[in-house]
Symmetry: D2
Subunit: 310 residues, 4 copies
Amino acid sequence: MTLSRHARGVYAIAPTPFAADGALDLESVDRMVDFYAAAGVDGLTVLGQLGEAPKLDHAEALAVVRRVVDRAAFPVVVGVSAPGFAAMRSLSVAAMDLGAAGVMIAPPSSLRTDDQIVNYYAGAAAAIGADTPFVIQDYPLTFTVVMTPEVIRRIATDNPNCVMLKHEDWPGLEKISALRAFEEREAMPRLSVLCGNGGLFLDFETERGADGAMTGYCFPEMLVDVVKASAAGRRDEAHDLFDAHLPLLRYEQQPGIGLAVRKYVLARRGVLATDTQRTPAARLSSAAIAEVDYLLDRLARHDARAKVSS
Amino acid sequence: MTLSRHARGVYAIAPTPFAADGALDLESVDRMVDFYAAAGVDGLTVLGQLGEAPKLDHAEALAVVRRVVDRAAFPVVVGVSAPGFAAMRSLSVAAMDLGAAGVMIAPPSSLRTDDQIVNYYAGAAAAIGADTPFVIQDYPLTFTVVMTPEVIRRIATDNPNCVMLKHEDWPGLEKISALRAFEEREAMPRLSVLCGNGGLFLDFETERGADGAMTGYCFPEMLVDVVKASAAGRRDEAHDLFDAHLPLLRYEQQPGIGLAVRKYVLARRGVLATDTQRTPAARLSSAAIAEVDYLLDRLARHDARAKVSS
Amino acid sequence: MTLSRHARGVYAIAPTPFAADGALDLESVDRMVDFYAAAGVDGLTVLGQLGEAPKLDHAEALAVVRRVVDRAAFPVVVGVSAPGFAAMRSLSVAAMDLGAAGVMIAPPSSLRTDDQIVNYYAGAAAAIGADTPFVIQDYPLTFTVVMTPEVIRRIATDNPNCVMLKHEDWPGLEKISALRAFEEREAMPRLSVLCGNGGLFLDFETERGADGAMTGYCFPEMLVDVVKASAAGRRDEAHDLFDAHLPLLRYEQQPGIGLAVRKYVLARRGVLATDTQRTPAARLSSAAIAEVDYLLDRLARHDARAKVSS
Amino acid sequence: MTLSRHARGVYAIAPTPFAADGALDLESVDRMVDFYAAAGVDGLTVLGQLGEAPKLDHAEALAVVRRVVDRAAFPVVVGVSAPGFAAMRSLSVAAMDLGAAGVMIAPPSSLRTDDQIVNYYAGAAAAIGADTPFVIQDYPLTFTVVMTPEVIRRIATDNPNCVMLKHEDWPGLEKISALRAFEEREAMPRLSVLCGNGGLFLDFETERGADGAMTGYCFPEMLVDVVKASAAGRRDEAHDLFDAHLPLLRYEQQPGIGLAVRKYVLARRGVLATDTQRTPAARLSSAAIAEVDYLLDRLARHDARAKVSS
């Protein structure tokens, strides 16, 4: 299973499960993989920003990759962003050896000009090797690096192993349209475009030409259903389901505490044994927990899957 | 009418109306003031970030203030953020002379440390004069200045003319709780807290202790109704109405093109003669216009006020 | 006198003189203009970053321009950077009416991509009008906007009224070489390149092809002599004089307190009546004053002009 | 040898030597350690920003530490800055096991408020363990994190294993004075303060109370002599030597290409076998090389140690 420019559907961003004492919780990893499989995802991404990757050391990172790849029947993408190419190459080679389908690379926040960004990805593409497919993570809100459609076109054209865009620019709808327009007039090779940014615009992103979602919302079933309904042209159905989830999704998409919300819900859903994060971490206050519970109750009136045992 | 630390309700952020040729459209200003009055707002804020204030020269800015103050039966807050205190003072004095209720001040993006922020507001408070009440605009996403609750406590304590917080930190719910906790144990004087950030968390902000909203969503009626329902303890009603608007509200809250969405809807609603912005401006593509129209149609099924003539 | 693409020599960045009570000190303006004339400068730039422009209101800004233009026998450039094009146009039109030779425009710090920068300058060039020559201020350290040589090439090519680059990138020597190489193969029209950044690399910038300096070092005579010696091929002489001034120049080039150093020395030299800055301002401690005095004493051993009465 | 709050003198920042093919060059490491010993340094810092640490993988980083510690007769500080505490702890424990005297920690660029910075160092101090002394790297120009003297006071007070400040704020002289004033009135424990920022203000930093230098200028002999002369009260001698080196030092202190200059000179001095950097790296043009050679020739007239064979 190797990631290609024609990948479609939902690649869930997986959190990293920890036990209450902060140790890796590999049993929860197994349960989590099964949960995503049951939700119908097409792939999984591990060691992303919201996978607490920087809080793992090298050996732990590989232990997570191995456990996920061994259990999953779908492609696994591994985040390998690193301050330098040497560490990026080390992790990338190890991940691919373990059976990963590809890697994901975010830009360092020091990049500013178009050429700096293009050159950085040329260096990264060379560092990981031509046989390793990679995903561009385009998330200006977090990384402060702004990529124009033209910059993405150049990266995709220059590097045959660039196969996917994790699109999380905001606003970002016109960017999808611009990239698809480039492709139509053969100004660039096709990229698989999966959308992140918490899924906040997934309802329209699919209509603009995105191939699906790559994000970690705590109800991946919704992402799967919305992408399918939209692809099948059942527009109102897609929006109705999306809108029912939007109040919770918006709450989960807050910077910092968003991951706490996600882990809390996944623990309540029985996927994770605990909602533990490693430090530094934002934690939910009792008021915030009550707000999430209230949102779950309200959601359950529209989507029975949100009925979670208290 | 002078702004006080006990202000409550909804202060709408007003856009600045332009004719198709870019000239100030003062007739639309009148219509807009009447529209906000009919929507039940408690006040109006002009010359904010989304009021295209930097695109007006000094004389135009004062013309807008004069026209709004003359027509409005409610307090008017005027944005006076400026690169230096001299221009800030000039505009502030002129606005108060024209009958403004107070002014709003955003921090320059160069501020970093706690002391820098506190010192800046001390200088600004002195520049506008002790008799001029002011609003802190706390919007890290746009201004890149991060204020802890402690910093806001210090500013409110040091400067008697600091009366209100335009709260638009994200995430921001815990900040409201922290400030109200300071007040309860008399560690700081009361501040009026009105919430911005497009209203994206208004449903919970009121529950955390906010006094209302200061934002420019294109259906101010919703803001007014949610704040009232929440204050009256009709929680589900507040959330139901809020959730119905959330898909459109989320679309309008996009950086850059958000103002284009807002002006487009206000023009469709007959408030503005045109949706013209002065350059530089983001414009709506035909795809985006169709998306907004679709969202309006969907909203109208829940809220009849969203039925707008085509 | 209109600024052209062939301007050469030293354009001093003038501070704005204030009396001890913070009022504009127009008599010091006269003395200052005479001082720069005696130092042999080829032009003067007012209302720049280090001219405390944001601390002046509109009327004061014009008063400074009028006084300088009326007295100067050389071209005067006026800084017109503003948060929006309306205020920029107002100030620019007024300055040119008063007899300015051109205007200087710095980019707003929100610009990131190549296209954003090029588009901003297209908008600015249109706002000030085709008959008004302008200077690009390329100072990433302060403005956080990074312009590649290619971006500058595009701006210079697109806008006939773009005539000069105030070059203060750091490092910046290769940028000068790259621009001159563009010109040699006729890929862009000639730009006058005057160097800022406190003059910290002036010794080599002239050798790379710069036409001179536009900076505010407190001994403009040195800038004039170095540019002349370098242009005449007297390399060692240029470096010897430059090196003698470098310890003080480096001290003056500190962000924030640099302007305090500059005003202090100009006051000691009898040019300014006081070294007053308007708030907010960094002030020299007694330790810092003693350090500057020590540097002046050391400099006087190499350059008699640094002997200033105590 | 464990780093203490009373450390003094010069800790050179060591580059990482590579062979022409990019492999680690451990023989040059030996020669480099001998070179620094002959120059009279009091310690060495490896794997700093200018040690290309992010371009090494974990095994390579440890190989460098081992080789340096084994050969050096003075304390060795190891940079362990990392995106997360897990990797930081791994590298720190390994480095101390190999015989390092302490570690150096830079703040992640996402930190903004005073409390965020203090909390980050509390987490880092705990992660590396109470027995491992650490150095705060305070370099706002590169890391965009601004620490007030009060923040440094809090970190030094809260964490007994915080023993040293690598001071490279700019401007920074008043910060040294403020910290020493805190110490004098016993508001904080003593910190060893060694200055970086290329050494650009070392002449005055020692006079303000700094204990010495921690920087990588290509003539460490000058740093050693200046610190000694200043400590002995031979002020003019210290400044005379410093001023002679300032033109080259200023050239080497350019961001990006500064390391290329440093490696080039160290290669010309016979310390490094090659001036190779791993990608991404800024390289010297032929014009830049000629400029450095010219500066070396000029320096050699004042300091015979700068006579290097061509």
